[in-house]
Every structure is written in structure tokens, then in C-alpha cells.
């Protein structure tokens, strides 16, 4: 029996129990990840991070939550009150919904029922996740708009533009996965990876997805929507107390959500690492969950590592990268993948497939070397003449003759 059939036989109370388990896991993971991020980033900066509340500071995010809940809840006079209240709710609820289709385990026994740890199995599961993520953007846009203030509006607009641009690249990177697995259902995609992970087979797709998921979640180095140096706090500048906490929660649940999707689509989902398949039968199949969350935490570490390493990008660079690099690359890659797929489906000789692949590689190498030569020449021509008098007024400095010093 496949996952869809197993889920179809679930009684109502079992669905409720599974929903509760998924929700609790998400919240716990979020609390832990806030703490984990702060500790890891701190170590990367030679600090200790939160270590006061509870053992190793583990309860820090709980304490922060309590603090936020006890704060005064302000609604600015200029705000649109109804939308202002609804926006964080939209953000926080939609990010949880993506987990409905994440397969956390294979076949397990839950209160005497044979089932899989997955709330539902839609035939278009991955599209559903993308759609939900897009609805989540409404939370940000509406928050920015309803605040009745300049910076939140700018932050909200930036954020929506960013998420929409990177969703295109993300969607395109998933096309190759759909072509290979022949399905959009998450459980089928996991099943299709039993031999080779798609992170290996479709490596370019994986890289594009990994980049666009950082853009999608508004995280460093793509956190322009809440660039505190430019926009104060971005879309949540005017928010306080629990409403702010909801945005905070949404950000981290979103990270876990995109990491889970990446795990499901590219890293073999809940399956064990190659060579450790025997562990999947421990604890009656529940051990798969350990593998799933280990992979998710791995992705989370990647997020933190990026944040600790890279400076924030400029907005135009960011948009240029999305539209002029990621999307064209994705499109080209899809062309190659679909051609290969059709060739193998038709049973073309292996020599032909190998020749095609080799040709593509040669083409890419030629294109990059041409591009590099072009940019190098362009750079030499485009360099400003440093010896010339600048076109803008400069203060006169006693004892320094600008023209002479430049010529000498």
C-alpha cells in the first residue's frame, strides 16, 4: 500500500492526533532553532550566546516569548486596524500549513493503526506548498501596508517583490524534480529517491532551490525586507507584543518548512543516509523521523552559517541575481533535463545520451570562458581614469597637489 492509500484509511481522531503531533513538533523545533541559531552565530563571532535561562540557555526562546506576550500591544493611529491585526495571523497560520503534506515517516503504527506520519497526500502536494508560501506573503504585504508608516511600507514591498521573484526560480528548480519523479505528490517523490537522491542526480536544481529558499524566507544575506540599517525593522517596525511574536514565529517556521521541503524533494525525505537503511526499521519505523529532522537541522545549520558569513546584498544586486542568473539557469537546466528524460524514455542508445551530455558540458564551458573574456575586456575599458581631475568638487588640501601626486 502506498502512502495515499494508508492516509485514506485514517479515522478522524487519528488525523486530529497527527495534526497535533505535527503542530507541536513545529513549535518545539522553532523554539529550539531560535536558541540554536543564536548559539551558533555567537560561536561564529567568538561569543557564547544565550546561556542564562535554563541549562545552556535552552529556555531562552520561551522566556523571550513570555516577555513579548507581557509587552504593551500598540496599534498606531494611522494603521488600518483590522488589516493590521489580521496580517500577522495570516503569516503565522500559513507557514504551519505547509507541513500538512510533509512525509515525516514511512509506514508506522500509531495507536494500533497502520499509517504514515503525514497529514494528507495531495497529488499536487508540492504545488500546494508553493501556493501556501505565496499566501504567506500576503501577511507581509498587508502588515507593511496597514501600518500606515513609510518604512514598513517599503519593507513590505521589498519583501513581496523578493518572495515573488525567488518563487519563480524556486518553482523552476522543482520542475526537474517533477520530470524525474513523474509526480507532484511529496510521498511519491520520496519514494522515487530510494536509489539516488535528487540532490545528486539534479545537482543544479538543488543548488538553485537552496539559494532561492533563502531568498524566499527573507533570511540573510537576502534579508533586505527587514534590513535594520536601511528600513528600521521593515514590515514589522510598527508591531509589538504578541503580534510581533507571530511574525517572529512565522519566520522560523518558514525556515523549517522550506528546509523540510528541500529534505523531501532532494535529500531522500525521511529515508536514512545511504548505507544506514537498516535503521529505518528501528522503533517500528518511527526512527525515520530522526533522519528527517536530522536533515532539516542540517539545512537549518546552513541558514545560520550563511547568516554568520555573508553580508547583506544590495537590493538591485539581489534582483539582478534572481532574474538574470537564477531563472535563466533554471530554464536552461530544465531544457537539458527534459531532453535527457525523453531520450532515455525513447530508449535511445547510451552513446547518444553520453554525447549529448558531453556536448552540453562543452557548450557551458565555451560560454563561460567567452563571458569571462568579455567581462575582462569590459573591465579594462570601463575602469575610470584615475589620473584625471574628478568631475565633482573636492576640498583643497594644504600641501597636496592632486594632479602631481596622481601622476607621480
Amino acid at each position: 500500500m502506498n502512502a495515499a492509500a494508508l492516509i485514506g484509511h485514517d479515522p478522524g481522531w487519528l488525523i486530529a492526533v497527527k495534526g497535533l503531533i505535527v503542530f507541536v513538533l513545529c513549535v518545539l523545533l522553532t523554539l529550539m532553532s531560535v536558541w540554536g541559531e543564536r548559539r551558533i552565530v555567537a560561536r561564529m563571532q567568538m561569543r557564547l550566546g544565550p546561556n542564562r535561562v535554563g541549562p545552556f540557555g535552552l529556555l531562552q526562546s520561551l522566556a523571550d516569548g513570555v516577555k513579548l506576550a507581557l509587552k504593551e500591544d500598540l496599534i498606531p493611529k494611522a494603521a488600518d486596524r483590522i488589516v493590521f491585526v489580521i496580517a500577522p495571523v495570516i503569516s503565522a497560520t500559513t507557514c504551519f500549513m505547509a507541513f500538512a503534506v510533509m512525509p515525516l515517516t514511512g509506514e508506522v503504527n500509531l495507536f494500533g493503526h497502520k499509517t504514515v506520519m503525514q497529514l494528507t497526500d495531495l497529488p499536487v502536494g508540492v504545488l500546494y506548498v508553493l501556493a501556501i508560501a505565496s499566501v504567506g506573503v500576503y501577511g507581509i504585504v498587508l502588515a507593511g501596508w496597514s501600518s500606515g508608516s513609510t518604512y514598513p511600507l517599503l519593507g513590505g514591498l521589498r519583501s513581496s517583490a523578493q518572495v515573488i521573484s525567488y518563487e519563480v526560480a524556486m518553482g523552476l528548480s522543482l520542475v526537474a524534480v517533477f520530470i524525474y519523479s513523474g509526480s507532484m505528490s511529496t510521498s511519491d517523490i520520496v519514494a522515487a529517491q530510494h536509489k539516488w537522491w535528487y540532490a545528486v542526480v539534479l545537482f543544479p536544481s538543488f543548488v538553485i532551490y537552496a539559494i532561492s529558499m533563502v531568498g524566499e524566507t527573507n533570511r540573510a544575506p537576502f534579508d533586505l525586507a527587514e534590513a535594520e540599517g536601511e528600513l528600521v525593522g521593515g514590515f514589522h517596525t510598527e508591531y509589538s507584543s504578541l503580534k510581533f511574536a507571530l511574525f517572529f514565529l512565522a519566520e522560523y517556521v518558514n525556515i523549517v518548512a522550506v528546509s523540510s521541503l528541500a529534505t523531501t524533494l532532494f535529500l531522500g525525505g525521511y529515508h536514512a543516509l545511504p548505507g544506514l537503511t537498516f535503521t529505518e526499521h528501528w522503533l517500528g519505523g518511527w526512527f525515520c523521523m530522526v533522519w528527517f529532522f536530522a536533515k532539516v537541522i542540517g539545512f537549518f545549520y546552513l541558514f545560520v552559517w550563511l547568516r554568520g558569513t555573508l553580508p547583506r546584498m544590495r537590493y538591485d544586486q539581489f534582483m539582478k541575481f534572481g532574474w538574470k542568473v537564477l531563472i535563466p539557469t533554471s530554464l536552461l537546466w530544465i531544457l537539458v533535463v527534459s531532453t535527457l528524460r525523453v531520450m532515455s524514455a525513447r530508449g535511445e542508445p547510451r552513446v547518444l545520451i553520453a554525447a549529448f551530455t558531453f556536448g552540453i558540458v562543452l557548450l557551458i564551458m565555451a560560454a563561460t570562458s567567452l563571458y569571462e573574456r568579455a567581462t575582462r575586456q569590459g573591465n579594462v575599458e570601463g575602469l575610470p581614469d584615475s589620473s584625471a581631475e574628478p568631475s565633482f568638487p573636492v576640498p583643497h588640501v594644504q600641501g597636496i597637489n592632486r594632479v602631481e601626486s596622481n601622476n607621480g
Partner: protein, 206 residues
Amino acid sequence: MDNLTPRDSEYGLEKAASESKPILDQSAGSFFKQLLGFWVTFVTQFKKVNTVEYPEVKEPTAERFHGRHQLNRHPDGLEKCIGCELCAWACPADAIYVEGGDNTPDAQYSPGERYGKVYQINYLRCVFCGLCIEACPTRALTMTNEYELADDSRRKLIFEKEDLLAPLRQGMLMPPHPMYPDSTDTSYYKGEVTGSHPSQESNPHV
């Protein structure tokens, strides 16, 4: 206060400064060269942290750190402050309030005629510039290295004379008590009085 462990002086920053080389190559380098940044942050995770876990671990301050003030005593216990108010006049933040009083044979607090009857320093105003120390003609006012001066009310941060006076050390007697026999204030300032005399213990007029 006994469980406070002093920290060794190996600061990561000092080490980094001694190891740092001038940056000569300003070019961006190749893609893989840029990825070196990831290695830097990864390796840093396993390095020793610079954090001083303050309430438990306390770094000693610099030797001449400007901390809380102290009103010093002569070796026999008499106060050095003569209530001249020069510190109060020197203070740019108007943080010091002094009222002088006359020493009487019944109550001798400092050698000579006058002593500081009321002495207050307002630590909400003090900027720890040390001009009061420079102004003090008898070296009565100096600064300690104590920096833990936070409190939860304004009143508690106005330090009175008894908060600022130095503790009695070996051989000192709590004033008021008579001056050292056969001495003048000048002999105190010349450092000729090196301790208390038995006759100072019993105050004849009390």
C-alpha cells in the same frame, strides 16, 4: 565574593592583533577564494570565546581606573578632609556637596581647625573625570577601582560621608579623638605621625 575567579589575560583580540598581517591583495579573487569566508566562520566556532561571564568572572580593571571615590584617613585614624570645598568647586558636573565644620576639643575629626561635616557625592551626576582628586589639597579624596555602582533608586546613589570614608586600618582609631600628643596639623602633613598614640584612645572630654 570568594567564588569570583580571576580570568587569565589571554584576550583573543590581543592574539589576533599580534598575528594580523597587512592586507596587500585587494582583488576579489576567484569564486573559490571567496568561499574561504565560510571556512573562517566555521573554524571560529571551535575557537575560544572572548566573552567574560561578568557576574561570575570579574576582570581586574586598569590600575588607574576611575571608580568610586574614597575619603582617606591619617595613620592615626583622623580624617584627611578639611572641608575646604575645593573638590566641589572643581567638579564640572556639580556632583559634590560639602559642608565644613569646626573641630572642637570635644570632637576632633581632622588635624587642624576644620573638617568635612557633610560630604556627599551624587553618582547620578558624577562623570568620573577625577578633577576633584586633582583639586584636593590634602589628598583626602582619591578614587578606588570599584565600578559596581548601579542601584535602583536615586537616593541610594547619593553617597554620604560614611559611605565614602576609608575603613580603619591597623593602628587607626575611630574619630573623634584628640590629635597625636605634641603635634600640629603641619606634622600630620609632613608624615611625622605614623600611627595612633595610647593617649588618643581615651577622649578626656567625653
